[in-house]
Symmetry: C2
């Protein structure tokens, strides 16, 4: 028997996952995590209004969601001062990145990203056969001018930049970003992943310009709006690029209750402000705690703190393992020299209490 | 400015949608439908236990869903008497069909389906550059032996068959299906879409054989379980084929509340039995009504009745339009000679009441 004849590309792909889920680790360890601070989920959760809206919509899930995401796009357009035709809604940024790669990347297409940036983007680039070209971080920052230079050099069709950055939490101001945008090569699309932008200081996001054919911005309800498991994100761009998603997207792929939840979450900007304040306080506390034990928090414009452990990757990996042994779910950057760090998501006071107790115990086991 | 450089394939694709959503029509008409009987949604809705489970999970959507869908796969494996490694869970059959096409179809890959079968499958085949070969229906039935012959003839990598069939509602028994399975060419994967199989008589589904590398079965919570807007479906197949989905799927793409809802729905087989009985009664009533007005219901093993209007496609299209004018959402088959029919989903008594009132008024306008 021949069995299935996979495409040449798919046959060549490894059967990897971009991330191992915390549940997988819980099952392997036979124990639930006491604090879930590894996936940059927003432990403060969705707005109570979003929760109510989703719960109220649940009995209606016998109906497919509106494939046009009309109401949500209208609200998002008003919120950003743009037009609905500049917005495509999808089931998380991961899904939108997949569609974007499908549109722009095929066998050998040059794509540029930072070495150690978001692995799921790389998963999609590989999945469509692209040739990934990477540029190292500059210190703990993604390097806009080096990325632009690389895009010119390799004639990239697509480049990826996260601002603020994950996994480092660092960020560039709008002026730097605007300069990067202005220098994107003709024929290159810059995917600006702004999943964490709501957490960043005023003046981080450059102005939205939907006339620019070469930039697509990604935003999500997974982070600041606390709805990672509801799977709602959106991309903003030129109407032609946005409309092209209709060629490939899963039109009836949106959860109906999530559509209602995102709409309610967007309307509750007061709750968002409270979350941002709670996250800020949590990050300060994480910073204080790690400093007390001789580690250095890297300034962060996200909902997590990347902590410089001051040693090598082996030490940080061991510390992540030791924290997991203490029932605290954390992760860390994959690539040197950033892998000298661990990454701790901003949690509720009770989550940070647990981290505070676990950290010295975990460090003790490494002595 | 060059703008984005789309792949050659994507540049060639039309910006179409497989289906226009009812909400789009409602917005165009400035009026909500009184009865929503066009998308084969299950108006009887999810089990109350599934509703409760989803509502209870909503506050937890700050967490991503388990990317392994572990609990649901365990439950489905026990339900079907198979192993979890033979199951992949996805956000609806549409999403799984997309992944399957991505795995097996690239530029010019021959694919076989029935002329007039599920348009979203065709959307995905075109979206990955496949060459679609079609076989006409035999009467109002998909034609297994003609499809198998065509798959041999064109050396298809993939063939699609829905049993029971949509849009006609007709079905073949397990013996016919088993014969088809036995004759699938080596190197061809038969995608057996069983979205409606719970509605079908005993003896419709052939035995599940997870040793067979050439068959993948698609099942969903969208139809009999009444959860179309929750986006949960699964595929059953050989472990190698199932594992290959990990190369391309959106690992963190599942809604966390939907995972809980599907689990609860599966456990409530009593509610499912009630739904099946309600759907049966609704179909009988639809049959009685259309007969009274000189139309002929085609026997159906699904949750809809395809109604032979006895005239041509122009008449049926006009009747669909006239029913929509009466605020009743219905659809119809796209391709002749099946387009002599309209398709009415099984609704609650109050939905069928509205259809009963609207049908003669709609027919009157066509005289």
């Amino acid at each position: 028997m021949t069995g299935p004849r996979y495409t040449k590309l798919v046959a060549s792909l490894p059967s990897t996952v971009p991330f191992v889920g915390p549940e997988t680790q819980e099952r392997a360890r036979g124990q639930k995590f006491a604090a879930r601070l590894g996936a940059n989920e927003n432990v403060f959760g969705p707005s109570p209004k979003a929760i109510s809206a989703m719960q109220a919509a649940v009995p209606d899930v016998w109906m497919y969601g509106d494939p046009e995401n009309y109401d949500l796009k209208q609200a998002l357009a008003a919120f950003h001062g743009i037009r609905p035709e500049n917005i495509v809604v999808g089931a998380g940024i991961d899904g939108l990145l997949g569609s974007l790669c499908r549109m722009l990347v095929s066998d050998g297409t040059p794509v540029v990203t930072s070495l150690g940036a978001y692995p799921t983007f790389n998963f999609h680039v590989a999945g469509y056969g692209g040739a990934l070209h990477t540029v190292p971080y500059n210190g703990d920052f993604e390097d806009p001018s080096a990325l632009v230079a690389k895009a010119h050099e390799v004639d990239a069709s697509l480049m990826y930049f996260a601002n603020p950055d994950n996994p480092m939490g660092t960020w560039h101001g709008a002026d730097v970003m605007q300069e990067m945008i202005d220098n994107v090569p003709d024929g290159t699309v810059l995917c600006l992943d702004e999943a964490y932008v709501e957490f960043s200081p005023e003046g981080t996001a450059p102005a939205i310009d939907t006339d620019n054919r070469n930039v697509i911005r990604m935003r999500t309800f997974s982070k600041a709006y606390g709805m990672a498991g509801a799977r709602v994100a959106y991309a903003i761009g030129h109407a032609d690029l946005i409309n092209s998603f209709n060629k490939v997207r899963n039109h009836f792929g949106m959860n109906r209750a999530s559509q209602a939840g995102a709409l309610a979450a967007l309307e509750d900007q007061q709750y968002l402000a409270q979350t941002l304040s709670d996250v800020r306080a949590a990050k300060e506390r994480i910073g204080d705690i790690v400093r007390r034990f001789g580690l250095e928090p890297i300034p962060s414009a996200t909902n997590f703190v990347t902590v410089d452990c001051g040693k090598d990757g082996d030490y940080a990996r061991a510390l992540v393992g030791a924290l997991i042994d203490q029932n605290i779910f954390v992760r860390m950057p994959f690539v040197a020299p950033q892998d000298r760090c661990i990454r701790v998501s901003a949690g509720r006071p009770q989550d940070i209490d647990l981290f505070e107790k676990a950290l010295p115990l975990a460090m003790e086991t490494l002595k």
